[in-house]
């Protein structure tokens, strides 16, 4: 079984899972590679916008408002006369921050709650899961809306709001994972040699349980950006010198019939990013889940 050597997680792989993979193998990977390139490029945009963007994102060219995509302005200009291409490049920064930070915060808080509940079990589990159940009854965007409205629309608060709405998801997944890993024989085996609880938790349970969280996190990255843009749409976004994609899309939507490019390109950027992230997430999930490998 050579092919398994490089795959880190090897739960027992049933023999028959070596399924049809040759057919369209290249197509599947083409998707994955393209997505990876897209995501890497977007990360590059977020980190080094100056090197990529042709114009300053705040430069308002009064002579060229609402001009069509052209050789000078690849994505056209917006109603301020700003270069949409540059805006999209620079906008990736805050979009990524919203995505990554909220996933991190939500994942860490939700993950810890789930881990505690699942690992300790009993009363703690009942209480924590009750809280999560309650959070679940309030739909994500509503919670985000309330929090963003309560704290005011700053980037950080949007991140918090989005993170809060994602907590239940992470908590549930982590708890489920904890419960199942806890029952795995190797945990029992470690306990039977007298390993203290905290060590078992740190050495065995945690390293084996984060993979679905990672998958959820990747996908959550996209969802966060979408929720963020939903908040901009509802008027709870911030007005920044350099708007994030959600804000760009939301602000440009009124111009769709006159200047489709203003919102279409940020919209495509979101869709493309989320799409790529999801493809990567799917792949990650597949590779973590022995059953679908």
């Amino acid at each position: 079984m050579k092919e398994m050597v490089n795959v880190e997680t090897t739960l027992r792989v049933p023999k028959w899972t070596l399924r049809k993979r040759k057919t369209n193998f290249s197509l599947s990977n083409l998707f994955l590679y393209t997505s990876t390139v897209v995501v890497l490029f977007i990360i590059a945009c977020a980190v080094f916008p100056k090197w990529i963007a042709p114009f300053s994102p705040t430069y308002m060219n009064a002579e060229h408002i609402l001009s069509k995509p052209s050789a000078d302005h690849w994505f056209g200009t917006d109603y301020f006369g700003r270069d949409v291409f540059s805006l999209v490049i620079y906008g990736s920064q805050d979009s990524l921050i919203i995505g990554v930070a909220s996933v991190l915060i939500g994942g860490i808080i939700g993950g810890s709650i789930g881990a505690l509940a699942g690992y300790i079990g009993g009363f703690v589990d009942v209480i924590l899961m009750r809280v999560i159940d309650i959070l679940m009854t309030i739909p994500g965007i509503l919670l985000a809306l309330a929090i963003a409205a309560a704290l005011g629309p700053s980037l950080f608060n949007i991140v918090l709001a989005v993170a809060a709405s994602a907590i239940p998801g992470y908590a549930r997944v982590m708890r489920g994972q904890m419960m199942s890993i806890k029952k795995r024989k190797f945990v029992d085996a470690s306990r039977s040699i007298g390993t203290p609880n905290w060590r078992i938790f740190l050495w065995h349970i945690l390293p084996n349980s984060w993979s679905p969280l990672l998958v959820l996190g990747t996908i959550g990255l996209g969802t966060s950006i979408l929720i963020g843009s939903g908040l901009s749409f509802l008027g709870l976004g911030t007005i920044k010198e350099i708007p994030d994609w959600g804000a760009l899309l939301s602000q440009g939507r009124g111009y769709l019939t006159v200047a489709w490019w203003i919102s279409t390109f940020p919209g495509l950027a979101i869709t493309l990013f989320v799409l790529s992230i999801n493809i990567i997430g799917d792949k990650l999930r597949d590779s973590f889940d022995p059953k679908t490998r």
């Binding site: 092919e3 993979r21 040759k22 024989k185 085996a189 039977s192």
Partner: protein
């Protein structure tokens, strides 16, 4: 006899993402009408692939028939379209599988799944199909067939499901029944029942059976003819009597020798074939068996031997005839020395009067389901009021059907679970009185080896870290010291010292079990609980591990609690054996005595269910009828009375006490044998 199925030069590939595997090659065999043919061989030898190929089921698993033909009734199955094949599947050829629970669709009733087959093959209308289903269920020995029809798979026990599975397979009166390890997942008692059923049905319906098994005992009892496979090829094929009398191929010989029998000499080491079956991805050159074969020559290394007719049977060995001679000559001497067999196990150490474990009235109940409507909590009585001792240095065996509470007893013994009642003294100390810390400290002396060699090691850890974990927890060693210790341990269990940095998935099942053993002995414990430690392994590997365990025991004066399915193996390794039934200990005796003179009817039934790897021995079967009841509501009185041939009214009402029927021989029976 007329030939029903003829397979010629069959070759099957699997196309994976990185490579193409040839799973079986040059497989030629035939099955005659009314004949039972057994395919035997170690895990991964291609038995299942062969059977699935006959049904062309491998098409759905990216398998592909490279060459060869499969002819049934003059039709070549390799050339048929899927549509035509469907008229053959289930109708002409039916199949039953290993895990009955997994083989039924959980969301449809048993009845629906049986009638569906009948209807698919247009054997009858809906009403007729239902009637036939009821008839079939009755025929395979399921009581209340009408009720069972409307039950879901999860509502039936494993044994019952396997019967239902057989009923389903017989729905359209197939000519050939393929049974892929139909009893491997079942208890010996149930296995005996199922095998008997198959025999009866075969005679009644005149069908042929292709039985796949890795248990030579089962093969001996069932087969007319046996086919031995190794690494995707047939290496030997012969009439059952001939084969057991005189194997032509060294592999077959090894397999037969590896069998532990009820009368094997306990003081001897178990025979085992060296090494393990190679991976299909890199097969050895020449004869695939040559790296494990004591007779291998240069020719074997370079040239693949064809399957040749010798004396009206087939074998694939360059030296078949010569070896036969040698083997015949020195049959009992075993000079060939595949492994040094002469070495005798040392005399058992004098029994110390001091017991290592003293178990008193130990119980473990699991609460089940709260009910708003009834206050009364209900319990699963997994272990119920069990008392016994384990002496220092002995191996205490524990047997019993699945669900009888063996594992649970082991776990409460080690305080891995808190007992509901009773006490456990370890070296005179009441374990339940220890603080969590003290208990952890005590765990140095008590270790566990589990059944599942895949699940019991953390897949993300390196072998060295896995083995070193107990050292890290209990002993403050420098990294270097620890490395040294781990390497020592690796050597002790017969693994390469350099395996330190490798991951568990790079090892075979047997090797993983060695890793588990290395880890268990790392702290020089006094006691090891081996819960089905060898049940998942092939016979030859099983023997290797048992030998290893015994070696280690001798060297370190270890005490074992050995829980096992295979009674032969338990008998071989244990000094004393306890028999459990429904959470209770029903018999306890020295292992030889237990098998020679069982006092409890249950024990007798168990022993009687063991298939004998000797086709010449015609034996009256004393199989146990019925199945183990649920520990949630055990029968009154003697718990065994529902299945006991000797049960009386007293047994129904009065619970027998566990008493000494002979010196050192305890049993809980009103009417001991």
């Amino acid at each position: 006899m007329e030939k029903l199925l003829e397979i010629k030069d069959l070759q099957v590939h699997f196309t994976g993402s990185h490579h193409k595997l040839t799973a079986i090659k040059d497989v030629t065999l035939d099955i005659k009408k009314g004949e039972t043919v057994c395919i035997v061989g170690e895990s991964g030898s291609g038995k299942t692939v062969t059977s699935k190929t006959i049904m062309r089921l491998i098409d759905y698993e990216s398998g592909e028939i490279g060459e060869g033909s499969i002819v049934i009734d003059g039709i070549d199955l390799t050339k048929l379209s899927q549509k035509k094949l469907r008229t053959i599947r289930g109708k002409k050829i039916a199949m039953i599988f290993q895990e009955p629970m997994a083989a039924f669709d959980p969301v449809f009733t048993i009845g629906k799944q049986i009638t569906e087959t009948i209807l698919e093959h247009k054997q009858s209308n809906k009403l007729g199909a239902k009637e036939r289903a009821i008839y079939l269920l009755k025929r395979v020995g399921i009581s209340d067939a009408e009720i069972r029809l409307n039950q879901y798979p999860n509502e039936l026990s494993g044994g019952m499901l396997q019967r239902a599975m057989i009923a389903m397979a017989l729905a359209c009166n197939p000519d050939l029944l393929i049974a892929d390890e139909p009893t491997t997942a079942l208890d010996v008692t149930i296995q005996a029942q199922i095998l008997q059923l198959l025999q009866e049905l075969k005679e009644e319906m005149g069908m042929s059976i292709l039985l796949i098994t890795h248990d030579m005992g089962v093969a001996a009892e069932m087969a007319d003819r046996i086919i031995v496979m190794y690494a995707g090829r047939i290496v030997e094929q012969a009439d059952v009597k001939q084969l057991f009398e005189q194997p032509y191929h060294p592999y077959t010989y090894g397999l037969l020798q590896s069998i532990t029998t009820l009368d094997s000499d306990r003081s001897k080491k178990l025979y085992s074939i060296n090494g393990s079956i190679p991976s299909l991805a890199d097969l050895p050159s020449g004869c695939h068996f040559h790296p494990r074969c004591p007779f291998a020559t240069d020719l074997c290394k370079s040239e693949l031997p064809p399957l040749l007719e010798v004396n009206n049977r087939q074998t694939a060995c360059w030296y078949a005839e010569e070896i036969i001679e040698k083997l015949v000559d020195k049959r009992l001497e075993m000079k060939v020395g595949i492994q040094p067999q002469k070495e005798m196990v040392q005399e058992l150490p004098e029994r110390t009067s001091l017991p290592l474990f003293k178990v008193q009235e130990l119980s473990k109940y699991y609460p089940i389901g709260q009910n708003l409507f009834s206050r009364q909590p209900s319990f699963m009585r997994a272990v119920d009021n069990v008392s016994f001792h384990i002496h220092e240095g002995e191996t205490f065996g524990l047997v019993g059907e699945s669900g009888s509470g063996k594992s649970t007893l082991g776990r409460v013994l080690l305080q891995l679970e808190i007992p509901t009642g009773g006490e456990v003294f370890f070296q005179g100390q009441d374990l339940s009185k220890l603080s969590a810390r003290e208990l952890r400290e005590k765990r140095r002396d008590m270790q566990v080896i589990y059944q599942d060699p895949y699940g019991s090691v953390n897949p993300r850890w390196k072998i060295g870290d896995i083995i070193g974990e107990p050292l890290q927890v209990h002993e403050a060693l420098s990294v270097k010291e620890r490395n040294n210790r781990v390497q020592e341990l690796l050597e002790i269990v017969g693994l390469n010292k350099n395996s330190y940095d490798r991951y568990p998935h790079e090892f075979s099942g047997g090797q993983r079990q060695r890793i588990a053993i290395a880890r268990a002995i790392a702290l020089n414990p006094k006691f090891i609980l081996a819960d089905e430690a060898v049940s998942a392994l092939d016979v030859s590997v099983q023997a290797q591990i048992i030998n290893l365990l015994q070696d280690i025991q001798r060297e370190r004066n270890l005490t074992y609690l050995f829980i096992g399915h295979g009674l032969n193996i338990v008998r071989h390794i244990s000094d004393r054996i306890g028999v459990m039934y429904l959470g209770q200990l029903v018999e306890l005796a020295n292992s030889d005595e237990l098998f020679l003179q069982p006092a409890h009817h249950y024990t007798k039934g168990l022993i009687g269910s063991i298939p004998m790897a000797d086709p010449t021995r015609i034996r009256e079967r004393i199989t146990l009828s019925g199945e183990i009841p649920s520990p949630a509501s055990p029968p009154t009185g003697c718990r065994f009375h529902t299945r006991c041939p000797a049960a009386t009214a007293r047994c129904r009402e009065e619970q027998p006490i566990f008493r000494e029927v002979a010196k050192g021989h305890w049993a809980a029976c009103h009417h001991p044998l």
